[in-house]
Symmetry: D2
Subunit: 95 residues, 4 copies
């Protein structure tokens, strides 16, 4: 599956990039395939491994914030192979 995921602390000032940097470290060490974009990160893998990465980001953020906001959008298509790069290319080829 592919999960588009964003996390941010609530109530800790308008600059979120130090908190996002912490999440990036966890994602990059996790071994799960990922693609950062301006509004989140796409993770690709099995349900349990993807959700474990998101939970680890949340646990780390709750160590410095009292309240955390998370959005996750999942496209789950078992057997479809790797789609992180494929999805944009597939639509572009049909233009």
């Amino acid at each position: 599956m592919v999960a588009d995921f964003a996390i941010s602390p609530v109530g800790l000032g308008p600059s979120l990039s130090p908190y996002v940097a912490e999440a990036f470290k966890i994602i990059e060490r996790s071994g799960v395939a990922y693609q950062h974009h301006a509004m989140g990160t796409n993770l690709e893998g099995e349900w349990d491994e993807v959700m474990a990465v998101i939970k680890a980001c949340r646990d780390a953020m709750l160590a410095s914030a009292d309240r955390v906001s998370i959005t996750i959008k999942i496209d789950d298509r078992p057997g479809a192979g790797s789609r992180l790069d494929y999805k944009v290319r597939s639509a572009q080829e049909k233009m």
Copy 2:
């Protein structure tokens, strides 16, 4: 935490309510506090129990659909007590 959650099959005709009914059964049997609304269901509980309910809904839907779309929006505020009813009331009292 509170998680607003919606799930739907992709590519199975415009009427989704039979699939949603299946998810409702899983949610209602789970014992997790919930609130249905027109666009999803709010679940309240610990991370692992809420995510287990969402995963069970997804596993059930993948038994009849090749592709499933899920959105999850989480508000995680440890120690804040039950907020399923409180959040709307709290804002209404400040109007």
Copy 3:
């Protein structure tokens, strides 16, 4: 169409209910059909009227916050009639 909508300021402390109360006032005065729930508000109407309400909430919030976060999830099914109450009931009847 039905739009599930949530708005919050970024960087203004962990208690968001005074800001949400301001949005509630705008929604309730707008004349658009609505349903508050713990994680947002469902609005029902034509595209332009629903989007005008969301923009008015955003303009009001940007008067007191430097940064605002908004999520909108839309289910657009022209000719389907009013669905704010119908959608949950329809799934429950199929359980």
Copy 4:
């Protein structure tokens, strides 16, 4: 503002890329700054211009589908300058 935006028809088979290709054309002709990623497209511009692009994509999709699903996540920070590339870089520099 930056808006992460995804649109899909409901009930038209599991392969969505022809419909997504149609949306890509509208986005690319619009003149609004954009960044495609595996799960959506980030649009950057003023509220009215970004929302006009999203509405045009929706109008085009409703010409071939009875039901359309849209998600929009907005980060609105007036005066912050262009952030489509900046946001990922800013977090990476803090790692």
